[in-house]
C-alpha cells in the first residue's frame, strides 16, 4: 500500500463541551477521490479547517506528504501544496475573474512582494492563470468582474484558483453546492479527470456526485468516523445504514 | 476684497479722506483665535484693539482679522497670507505661545513688525529676540514671578505648586520659584487639558503645605478652583490672572471668591486712560473688559503712538517710535526693557463679587517696575 498524501491521526477539536471532531483519522491516497459525507453538524467544516490550518486541533496530528503539519498555519500548508476550495465562494468579488486566478498564480510563485510591474502583464502569471481558467471553462469571461458571475461560474472559479497552485492534494468543500443538475454533472466530469493530477478529499452533500466519483468514502456522524471504505463496504455497513443512509435507502 | 476682513478704518462720516488714506495707511494683520474652545481670548483682544482705533477716530489704519483656530499650522499659513497677499506692515493678535513661536521668528525675519498682545515666550525674550518684535503684554514668566513675590510678602514658607506639563507650565513653576524664597511642599506637573484634579488635591491635603500656587489656564483652572473649593481645603491660593479673567470668572463662581491673583492690569486701576477704556468697552460691547481686552487696547494705542512719530516705511524710525512707548497705557506706567518687553508694575488682585458679577479688585503691588530675566540674553 502506498503512503497516503494527506492523513489525519485522531484529530480532536472541542468547542466548550461539544466535540466537533472526535478522534478523526482519515487517509487520502495518491490518485483517489476520498469523499467525506455526513449530516449537517457532523463536523465536516471543522475537519476541513483542521486539515487546512484554520483551526488547531486539541489532540491528534495532521500529516501532509509525509511531514507533520499540525503546527503549520494555512499559508504554510498551501505552500506545501494543499489546494482548497470553499463551500461559500471565497473570491475577491470586486476583482475580475483573471485577477482572482492570478492571485493563485502569485501564491504558486511563493510571494507577492513586487510593487511595480502590473501583475496582469507578467506573462508567467498570466499564462498560469489563463491555463487554469481554460481548464474549468472560464477563459471567455476572464475580464468579467467576479461579482457578475453566475453561481455555477463562481464554483468553477473556486476550483480554477486552486488549480493555479498545481497542488499535491485538493480539499474541496461541497463544490457542487447550489449548482443545478447540469452544472453538477459538468463539475462531476471535471473532477473525475482531475484525480490523475492530484488526489481529492471531497466533502459533498450531492450523493449522485459522491457515488459517481468516490473511490473511498468516510461517514462522519457527531464528530466521529463511523465507517470508512469503498462504496460497497460503506453501503453494507450496518451502522451507516442505521445512522445515516437508513433514512434515505 | 475677496477675503473676510474687518475694515476698521474708523472713518465714520469722514468722506473724502479715503483717497489720502492709501498713501500712508498702515495695514495691520491680526491673527487670533476666534473659533473653538479658546475663542474668548481672541475675541477680547480683537475687540479691545478695534475699540482703541475707533475711539481715536483714525482713518489711516486698516485691520485684517483672521481666525487661527488655535492651530499653529493655520497661524503660519495666515501669516504667509498677510505678508504675501495682504502686504501688511504690522502683525499682531496671537494669543498662544506655541502659535507665536511658529509665526513671529519668520515674520520679523521678513522685515515685518510684530506687536504681541498676549504671548511672551522666553525664547523670544532672550536669544531669539528681534528689534521688530515688541511685547505689549508681559514676558510669560512675569505674572508667576509676581505670584512668588506676593507669596514672600504674605509670609508663605511652604508652597505646593502645580502646572500642566508643557513649556509654559514648566516656565510658570520656574518663574514662581525664581522669586519665592520659601520651601516647596510639592511640585506637580499635570496633564495638559486635564479636568480632574482630585488626585492633585489629595496630594496637597497629604502634604504640609501652607499655600498653593497654580498655573492652569482656561477650563483647567475653572475645574481646579471648583474642585479645590469643594475639597474643604482652606490653604491660601495664588495664581496668575489667567484663571481669574473676567471671561471665565463667571464660570468659576463662588469658588474663586477671595482668591489672590497677580496681574499687570485690573479694571479698578485708577488712571484716566483706564477709566475711559472700561467705560467705553462696556458701552460698546455690553460686557466688562478682560485682561486680554486691555492688552489688545494697549497694543493698538502703542501702534498709533508710533504712527504719529514716524512713517511705517521708515523701519528705523518706526522702530524707535515704538520703543519710546509714548502712549497712555491703561495699566499706568509702561516702558520697554532692552529686549522690547514691558517694564511695569504687577499687582495683586482679589476676586470679589459686585452685585451679581464676579470681578477683581487690586489689593496691593507684588512687583514694582518689573522687567524680565532674559534681558541679558538678548543681543540686538
Amino acid at each position: 500500500m502506498t503512503d497516503p498524501v494527506l492523513a489525519t491521526d485522531g484529530v480532536t477539536k472541542r468547542f466548550g463541551a461539544l466535540a466537533a471532531c472526535d478522534g478523526v483519522s482519515l487517509e487520502l491516497r495518491p490518485g483517489e477521490i476520498h469523499a467525506v459525507i455526513g449530516p449537517n453538524g457532523a463536523g465536516k467544516s471543522t475537519l476541513i479547517q483542521l486539515i487546512c490550518g484554520g483551526l488547531a486541533p486539541d489532540a491528534g496530528r495532521v500529516t501532509f506528504r509525509g511531514r507533520d503539519v499540525t503546527a503549520s498555519n494555512t499559508q504554510a500548508r498551501a505552500r506545501a501544496g494543499l489546494g482548497r476550495t470553499f463551500q461559500v465562494s471565497a473570491l475577491a468579488m470586486e476583482d475580475t475573474v483573471l485577477q482572482n486566478a492570478v492571485l493563485g498564480a502569485l501564491g504558486a510563485r511563493g510571494g507577492a512582494f513586487r510593487v511595480w510591474r502590473p501583475a496582469l502583464r507578467d506573462p508567467a502569471l498570466r499564462d498560469r492563470a489563463m491555463a487554469a481558467l481554460e481548464r474549468v471553462g472560464l477563459a471567455d469571461v476572464a475580464a468579467v468582474r467576479t461579482a457578475e458571475l453566475s453561481h455555477g461560474q463562481r464554483r468553477q472559479l473556486e476550483v480554477a484558483v486552486a488549480l493555479t497552485l498545481e497542488p499535491h492534494a485538493f480539499v474541496m468543500d461541497e463544490p457542487m453546492a447550489g449548482m443545478g443538475p447540469e452544472g453538477s454533472a459538468r463539475m462531476t466530469r471535471f473532477l473525475d479527470g482531475l484525480r490523475g493530477q492530484a488526489p481529492i478529499l471531497l466533502v459533498e452533500h450531492d450523493m449522485d456526485a459522491v457515488f459517481a466519483l468516490a473511490d473511498r468514502l468516510s461517514v462522519l456522524v457527531y464528530g466521529r468516523v463511523i465507517a470508512t471504505g469503498s462504496l460497497a463496504e460503506v453501503r453494507a455497513d450496518p451502522a451507516v445504514r442505521e445512522a445515516y443512509l437508513g433514512e434515505d435507502a | 476684497m475677496k477675503l473676510r476682513s474687518l475694515i476698521a478704518a474708523a472713518c465714520i462720516g469722514a468722506l473724502g479722506t479715503a483717497a489720502a488714506a492709501s498713501e500712508d495707511t498702515v495695514k495691520v494683520g491680526m491673527i487670533t483665535t476666534l473659533s473653538g474652545g479658546g475663542a474668548g481670548l481672541g475675541i477680547d483682544v480683537r475687540d479691545g484693539f478695534l475699540l482703541a482705533i475707533e475711539q481715536a477716530g483714525r482713518d489711516d489704519i486698516e485691520v485684517v482679522v483672521e481666525d487661527d483656530q488655535r492651530k499653529p499650522d493655520i497661524a503660519v499659513q495666515l501669516a504667509d497670507k498677510m505678508i504675501q497677499s495682504e502686504k501688511v506692515d504690522v502683525l499682531t493678535g496671537i494669543i498662544w505661545s506655541n502659535l507665536a513661536m511658529a509665526v513671529v521668528p519668520s515674520a520679523t525675519a521678513r522685515g515685518k513688525f510684530y506687536l504681541s498682545p498676549n504671548a511672551g515666550p522666553s525664547k523670544l525674550a532672550g536669544q531669539g529676540c528681534h528689534p521688530n518684535y515688541f511685547n505689549v503684554a508681559w514676558q510669560n514668566d512675569n505674572l508667576h514671578e509676581a505670584a512668588g513675590g506676593y507669596a514672600n510678602d504674605a509670609g508663605f514658607s511652604n508652597s505646593f505648586i502645580l502646572a500642566p506639563n508643557y513649556p509654559a507650565g514648566q516656565d510658570a513653576l520656574a518663574g514662581y520659584k525664581r522669586i519665592y524664597d520659601g520651601e516647596l511642599a510639592g511640585e506637580v506637573f499635570t496633564k495638559l487639558g486635564q479636568k480632574d484634579y482630585a488626585s492633585e488635591i489629595a496630594q496637597i491635603r497629604a502634604s504640609d503645605a501652607d499655600s498653593v500656587f497654580f498655573f492652569l489656564p482656561g477650563g483647567m483652572g475653572i475645574s481646579f478652583l471648583k474642585q479645590y473649593a469643594d475639597s474643604g481645603l482652606d490653604l491660601p491660593v495664588v495664581g496668575p490672572a489667567f484663571s481669574f479673567d473676567q471671561g471665565i470668572l463667571q464660570a468659576v463662581g463662588e469658588a474663586a471668591l477671595g482668591v489672590k491673583n497677580t496681574s499687570q492690569w485690573s479694571k479698578d486701576l485708577d488712571n484716566a486712560a483706564n477709566t475711559a477704556f472700561v467705560a467705553a468697552f462696556q458701552a460698546e460691547y455690553g460686557r466688562l473688559p478682560s485682561l486680554y481686552a486691555s492688552q489688545g487696547y494697549d497694543t493698538a494705542n502703542l501702534l498709533m503712538s508710533a504712527m504719529d512719530a514716524a512713517d511705517v516705511g521708515d523701519a528705523e524710525g518706526f522702530r524707535a517710535a515704538l520703543k519710546a512707548a509714548d502712549f497712555d497705557s491703561v495699566r499706568g506706567d509702561f516702558e520697554f526693557a532692552a529686549n522690547n518687553h514691558p517694564v511695569q508694575d504687577i499687582y495683586v488682585r482679589e476676586v470679589i463679587k459686585e452685585g451679581d458679577v464676579f470681578t477683581n479688585r487690586i489689593i496691593g503691588t507684588a512687583l514694582e517696575d518689573h522687567s524680565n530675566v532674559y534681558v541679558d540674553d538678548c543681543k540686538m
Binding site: - | 524664597d181 510639592g186 491635603r205 497629604a206 483647567m220 471648583k226
Partner: protein
C-alpha cells in the same frame, strides 16, 4: 538667590486610599459615557464619534437650567432630556442612514457631527465657559472611616454611576427591552423576524446611550468646566474603555472604565514617585508625568495585543 529645597511627596496609606476613591469616581464617570457607546456599537454596529457631543449637550443644558431655576435636580433632568432629545433627532436624521455603511463612513459622518455640535453650541451659548456648580447639600467634604476627608459630591457620583450600572444590568437581563437589545446584538434579522420594530428599537437604544452621556456631562460639569470641546477628550477615553472591555459588553465597559480610571489616577501619583527613586526631583516629575499621560494608551495597547477583542469581547 537660594533655590527652594524640595520635599518629595510621600505616598501614605491615606493618600493611596483617597487616590483609589478618585480613580473609582473617574472610572464610574467613564462608565456612564462608555455604556452608551458600547450599547450603540453592540446593537447597531455603529461607531459614534459624536457621543462626546451629547455629553457636552447634557452639560450645557444642565448649566442653562441650573442658571435659570437654581435647582440642580431640575438641571440633571434637563441634561437627560436634552441629550436624549438630541440623540433621538440625530438618530432619526443622520445615524439611521449609517447602519448599513462601513465603519469608515460612520467615522466621517460622526466626525462631521462633532463639528456641527461644537460650533452650534458656541453659536448658541457663546465662547465663554458656563457656570454650573455643586448644590449646597452635596458640597464640601465628609469624613470617612479612617479619617479620610473626601468630597461628598464625588461619593455621590460614585453612587449614581454604580446605580446606573446596576440599572443597566437589570434592564438588559430582566426587561423586554433588554431581551430585544440582546437579540439585536446577536442576530439582527432574527429580531426583525420576531416582529420587533427594529428601527424604533435602534432609536430607543441610541437615545438611552445619549441620555447617559448627557447625565455624565452634567454630573462632571459641576466640578469641571462647561465649555465647547469638553466632550472629545472624554470620548477618546470612553473608546479606550470599551475597546479594553470588549465592544458591545456592558460588563466589559464597567471593568474597562474602572481599570482606566484607576490606572490613570494612580499612575499620575505613583509614577513620579517611582522615578524619584533614581532621578532627581524635577526630572522625575517631568518624566513621570509624561509617562503617566501615556499610560492608559499603553494599557490599551497591551490588552489588545494580549486579547485582540478586549477582555469580554465576543469572538468574530
Amino acid at each position: 538667590m537660594p533655590a527652594p529645597r524640595h520635599k518629595a511627596i510621600s505616598v501614605t496609606p491615606i493618600l493611596f486610599i483617597e487616590q483609589v476613591l478618585n480613580g473609582l469616581q473617574f472610572g464610574v464617570m467613564l462608565f456612564l459615557m462608555a455604556a452608551g457607546l458600547t450599547l450603540v456599537f453592540g446593537v447597531m454596529g455603529l461607531i459614534n464619534l459624536a457621543h462626546g457631543s451629547l455629553y457636552m449637550v447634557g452639560a450645557f443644558a444642565a448649566a442653562a437650567v441650573a442658571g435659570a431655576t437654581g435647582s440642580f435636580l431640575l438641571a440633571l433632568v434637563a441634561a437627560l432630556a436634552a441629550a436624549a432629545a438630541a440623540g433621538t433627532i440625530v438618530e432619526l436624521v443622520v445615524i439611521r442612514r449609517l447602519y448599513h455603511r462601513d465603519h469608515l463612513d460612520q467615522v466621517l459622518a460622526t466626525f462631521a457631527l462633532i463639528l456641527i455640535f461644537s460650533e452650534g453650541t458656541r453659536w448658541v451659548f457663546g465662547s465663554f465657559p458656563l457656570y454650573l456648580n455643586i448644590p449646597d447639600y452635596l458640597s464640601g467634604p465628609v469624613t470617612l472611616p479612617g479619617g479620610i476627608e473626601y468630597p461628598l459630591y464625588r461619593l455621590a457620583i460614585i453612587g449614581v454611576g454604580l446605580a446606573v450600572a446596576v440599572g443597566l444590568f437589570w434592564l438588559v437581563s430582566h426587561t423586554r427591552l433588554g431581551i430585544r437589545i440582546r437579540a439585536g446584538e446577536s442576530d439582527r434579522e432574527m429580531i426583525a423576524a420576531l416582529g420587533v420594530d427594529i428601527s424604533k428599537l435602534y432609536t430607543v437604544v441610541f437615545a438611552l446611550g445619549a441620555a447617559l452621556a448627557g447625565l455624565a456631562g452634567a454630573l462632571v460639569g459641576a466640578i469641571q468646566s462647561v465649555q465647547v470641546g469638553m466632550g472629545e477628550p472624554v470620548l477618546i477615553l470612553a473608546f479606550v474603555v470599551i475597546v479594553i472591555g470588549g465592544i458591545g459588553s456592558i460588563k466589559g465597559a464597567l471593568v474597562g472604565a474602572l481599570m482606566v480610571g484607576l490606572t490613570d489616577t494612580l499612575g499620575g501619583v505613583l509614577l513620579p514617585a517611582l522615578f524619584r527613586l533614581f532621578l532627581d526631583n524635577s526630572a522625575a516629575t517631568t518624566t513621570g508625568s509624561a509617562l503617566a499621560s501615556m499610560l492608559i494608551y499603553i494599557l490599551m495597547a497591551v490588552v489588545l495585543i494580549w486579547r485582540p477583542r478586549g477582555l469580554f469581547g465576543v469572538a468574530a
